[in-house]
Symmetry: C2
Amino acid sequence: MAKGKSAAKPAKASGPAVSPLAPKSYPSLPPLAGVRLSTGAAGVRYKDRTDVVLAVLAPGTQVAGVFTKSKTASAPVDWCKANLKAGGARALVVNSGNANAFTGKAGYDGARQIAESTAAVVGCRPSEVFMASTGVIGEPLPANRITKLLGALAETGSAAGWRAAAEAIMTTDTYPKLATASAMIDGKRVTINGIAKGSGMIAPDMATMLSFVFTDANLPASVLQELLAAAVRPSFNAITVDSDTSTSDTLLLFATGKGAHHAAVTKAYDKRLNEFRQRLDAVLLSLALQVVRDGEGAQKLIRIDVSGAESDDAAKHIAMSVANSPLVKTAIAGNDANWGRIVMAVGKSGEAADRDKLKIAFGNQIVAENGARALKYNEAAATKAVKGREVEIAIDIGLGKGKARVWTCDLTHGYIDINGSYRS
Amino acid sequence: MAKGKSAAKPAKASGPAVSPLAPKSYPSLPPLAGVRLSTGAAGVRYKDRTDVVLAVLAPGTQVAGVFTKSKTASAPVDWCKANLKAGGARALVVNSGNANAFTGKAGYDGARQIAESTAAVVGCRPSEVFMASTGVIGEPLPANRITKLLGALAETGSAAGWRAAAEAIMTTDTYPKLATASAMIDGKRVTINGIAKGSGMIAPDMATMLSFVFTDANLPASVLQELLAAAVRPSFNAITVDSDTSTSDTLLLFATGKGAHHAAVTKAYDKRLNEFRQRLDAVLLSLALQVVRDGEGAQKLIRIDVSGAESDDAAKHIAMSVANSPLVKTAIAGNDANWGRIVMAVGKSGEAADRDKLKIAFGNQIVAENGARALKYNEAAATKAVKGREVEIAIDIGLGKGKARVWTCDLTHGYIDINGSYRS
């Protein structure tokens, strides 16, 4: 909490109650050497809650990142991409309430102003400052509300501020998202801590996906980038809430190198990183699933497994066609084991499929095979398989060896309520 | 009405009330030489309403068609595609209540059974019988309920059954869809009559798009096919309700050649067809807009014009990205002039776009330009522009000369109600 702002409470969901799919408890993240966190209430848009996070990173910290593919990306995304090449990072500043997207030159100036102010209080170059903004788009960012807090934030950083940081970056999120793991590298234990926000892959208006992952391992930016690219495919790139892509999606991975000393590792596929890779994947998957579990209006988590496609890419494309189908998502919302809509979504994907080879199951109930309803089809059992909070759909295309797994949530009245109400 | 079935009423929407976007009145379609229509109540799924149409076509009738691109198309689609090459047609049979899709060999057998029975009563080859089915998928089609009516239907056909035919093919439609026009070819007046059904592009479960268009002009199948391919692009291929594509979408164009005698025309771009082309385009556009106006849950018709894209294809792709965005559609539903979501949808399309060149207008209110909110932005005026039943969005990409126009509807609680309830 920034000095002088002790009255500000941590963020609370301003919208509906906590998602029924929320984790039962939140993990307690341990301190991570080389990271000091602080939060403040800048009043960018929200009142009476925190909305800014500053992470001060030890000298020598390395960084990697992946970003939205949007052609209309936000000013902070442009800033981070431009400064990622050098590989060094000394600070991260994140605000909620305003995305600083589609804000033209003023938006870029605001981003630079934040970077320069942060650099001044941290003692680094502006290019070593990374940032993200989430909230409404098209509104000018009141950067000075943020910059005037930075001095106090830099002084009050602590190693224990993970939960507070995860709360300060929430927008339509109904709960904070945190994950932690540890791994051995070269016989030394290192830690991975991550936070995220998002109620979808989705949307500029209060629902961007942001995630920041930190480790005290000693890894160069090139290795981090390769690990991140591999870890993001089956996690953040395998979830969808509503097929809409934010202008601001940002995932940054920082390595401070200030944990237990281990030998230098210069290749991502060095076997000494096997466990680390696995744990990093797990942290990203945990955060990604926490995002989809908080999907706007979500009442159910839906896992879709596609096998037997012509290639892994084809399988992913089919899985996403099913996961993004409004008709599939509304059927599941209504406890309707409507496998006909799955057939439709497979068919519309454009990938190779053969009606007569397709096999579809809800849970362990095979509902369709050999070009028709399964002979052993049991409506009651199929309905039971889609009634719970977690629904598993398996689709065997029957043509090849390509496979993919993705997650989505159902499409409910809650989604319409959240997104169809006038901006307040 | 089939003989002995006089108790059956025409179809009525079993779901919600008539769409608020429905036409104020339905056009009265004139008789069309060479087409005799009849409807019957086969009880395929619905009770106490008509659900089968038979159109008997004069000898020499030519046919063209376009179909769903789904890789899991229905048995009737497969049947029509296979028989389209020969170019001749003597009958059309359409049923509602069951789509005969994903029904395997039994489905194909049912389609053939209908074709053979129809051929027997009409006196033609089975390959001259075209057909379409719409309704639930995956359920075996009770073909015999249809075939046993065919004899009576063939005897009772009339030249005046257009409205009854449009009603018999309805599923979740809330009103029948009809359009008519006339044109001069070579100094002779010909007629074009069309009917359609659909509450979206969408979905196997009761919401397939079907359309059947008839003319008494004398045109060969090759010309019809070329005219149809051109006419479908700015009409049926420019509408979307929810991005889901049916396994059964079918559009057939029949020319009986039994109207006023005109000289043979063998090329689609013969200037003697100029007026005919224009009127055919208008009939298809009218029918397509009637479908989107009946979009499931629709409260508003949304027109999206994209200009300044790199190509017409790029413009269409961007326009469809906006039209299919759940966040854009829910915003409009909520009377929210949320242009940030349009920026998002343009950005996610993947087509070339430059934030700083983009211009967006609701009605005649420019809301964004030069990479930021328009200087003259007026929230009240922008809100007013999205409050009505018809909303116009114009997007200038500012890069090239490509343009496209598409239509969609808003995404409302009604869509969730219709699609999220258990199949009854």
